[in-house]
Amino acid sequence: MSTPLLAVHDLNIALASDNKSYSAVESVSFEIGRGEAFGLVGESGCGKSITALAVMGLLRRPLSLGGGRIVLDGQEIQDASPAEMRRLRGSRIAMIFQEPMTALNPLSPVGRQIAEMFVLHQGTGWKEAMDRAEDALRQVRVPSPERRIKDYPHQLSGGMRQRVMIAIALACSPDLLIADEPTTALDVTVQAEIIDLMAELCAAKGTAILMISHDLGLVANMCQRVAVMYAGRIVEAQPAHAIFATPRHPYTRGLVDSLPRLGERARRGRQRLREIAGVVPSIAAYPPGCRFNPRCSAVTDICRTTAPAITTLPADGLVRCHHHD
């Protein structure tokens, strides 16, 4: 087995608030192979976005790294200096966000923002960089790229802006693209196109993807492997098709069962959706033991006192549950 492109071992992230320290992310470990599409799924507050920020070296107060190793291509980067991280960002790891309007500079034409990548990381001159920027826009299928390079972000639609973000992120052919809810703010038909585009471009360039989303269906469709996070911990990780067909953790199972899927009603009539009781706990009040225990239908005493250990599953999977089947 070749070295994975990105290996995260036992990552811990702490959140400081009101003179107390809370555990925002606890012993998170996963690996992404070269060119692989890996999905990280969870609801708001589960820690998926800050895990990505940790990989990028972008954690700022009140968040801080509390231990663990982040290994990029065999090299440990969790303690890298800011200058080293700046060299990596854009050229080896890139990130796109949910709201392209806030991620793009509103005062700079989009062509220039793409060209900046070539100038900063590859030392090309501006003229050549602008030409390559136009090419980049063409690659992300923006119509009339020669005119669009002069447009400002506010002149473009949401879908277009996200394409620009992708162009910027992939400009220097990074090894890893981290996408944090890139399509959540877009319309459904545009979302489908953007996802297809990302998958195609990354496959062509050999770029691995870390896809972060709350939409399990989206991630399972796009990625090869999926990890599910709940309240700061990874509770399950499996190949994409398995996680939907045979979820092993009650939370994953709850997610899969609770959302209505197209075609279900025609097949089985309208069934009452299987609810997951309770609410997502706040970081200040994580339950002891297994953090899902107050909401779990299979809960027993041990779940309330002891955090479950990791059980490995076939095909590089894992599950964190006292009662996995």
């Binding site: 319309d187 399972a220 959302l259 997502v280």
Partner: protein, 323 residues
């Protein structure tokens, strides 16, 4: 045939933007000739993406935005001639954002009791009784009544919003994306609640959502909107199993199916490009620039919403072609 609870007849809502001084007057045709019925106790799913006009349509049905053309009839009576208070007792709305839809300075009790007082119920004990009854119906406890919105989670706030919508015992409730702002793991709770209340209280719903899974689950009939027009309308099963409009097919194809990856059919039926602006909709069929089946006729001639089968209508020149 019983009188439909709500009847929209060629409804149009146009906004004029700009003035002669600032580059000319332009018309935004937010709703452009919509006709549909909602029967008592029926759930109509209204599907569409941004700019399709579904929010404006909801506001027009609520009487908050005056129609430019066409008619809105509630219970047989023209909306414009109805008394505002009477309309409030007939149609209500559940909003999308549970964090912005409750007055942060009012307790739950006051949010629910004030409308009752406003509508002439003076008896204190009756008001109390109805407030408590409604809280129980939406799954909240009596001790929740004297708390403020910020003390509740998103799902609970949405329950309060539902309670408020139902406190005046309306017959039609417009649910505008009721679960899209909620955490995924609690959406099922709210959807189940809405369906239970519908059956228990005999309500009709207009369920506005971009989530086709939710729409298929809850609706009796479905209408698909694009740039102010209804492009397809029919029973839920027909719409999802035999869609006759390319946009409907594109919406369905856009849903990621975790079991079938890189599906060729899906690739063929997906729409490309961006949704046009409602200020400058494409000529002829509004969907033509993005349509995989586009022909010359589509640019020159507006397709009408016509029957494909009984109760199933599509606005496409190629409506008789099956998928």
């Amino acid at each position: 045939m019983t009188e439909p609870l709500l009847r929209l007849d060629a409804l149009a809502v146009h906004f004029t933007l700009g003035s002669a001084l600032s580059g000319g007057v332009r018309t935004l045709k937010a709703v452009d000739g919509v006709s549909l019925d909602v029967a008592p106790g029926e759930c109509l799913g209204l599907v569409g993406e941004s700019g399709c006009g579904k929010s404006t349509l909801a506001l027009a049905i609520m009487g908050l935005v005056p129609p430019t053309q066409g008619h809105i009839r509630l219970n047989g009576h023209e909306l414009a001639k109805r008394d505002r208070m009477e309309t409030a007792r007939t149609v209500q709305m559940v909003f999308q954002d549970p964090y912005a839809s409750l007055n942060p300075r009012q307790t739950v009790r006051r949010t629910l009791a004030d409308p009752l007082r406003l509508h002439g119920i003076a008896n204190r004990s009756e008001i109390d009784h109805r407030v408590m009854d409604m809280l129980a119906k939406v799954g909240l406890r009596p001790d929740h009544a004297d708390r403020y919105p910020h003390e509740f989670s998103g799902g609970q706030r949405q329950r309060i919003g539902i309670a408020r919508a139902l406190i005046l015992q309306p017959r039609l409730v417009i649910c505008d994306e009721p679960v899209s702002a909620l955490d995924v793991s609690i959406r099922a709770q709210i959807i189940n609640l809405l369906l239970e209340l519908k059956d228990e209280l005999g309500l009709a719903y207009i369920m506005i959502s971009h989530d086709l899974g939710v729409v298929e689950h809850v609706s009796d009939r479905v209408a698909v909107m694009y740039l102010g027009r209804i492009v397809e309308q029919g029973g839920w099963q027909e719409i999802f199993e035999d869609p006759r409009h390319p946009y409907t097919r594109a919406l369905i194809a856009a849903i990621p199916d975790p079991f079938h990856r890189a599906d060729d059919f899906a690739k063929r039926t997906k729409a490309h490009g961006e949704i046009a602006s409602a200020l400058a909709p494409p000529p002829g069929c509004h969907f033509n620039p993005r349509c995989p089946m586009k022909a010359d006729r589509c640019v020159s001639e507006v397709p009408l919403l016509e029957a494909v089968a009984s109760g199933h209508r599509a606005a496409c020149h190629f409506r008789d072609r099956t998928g």
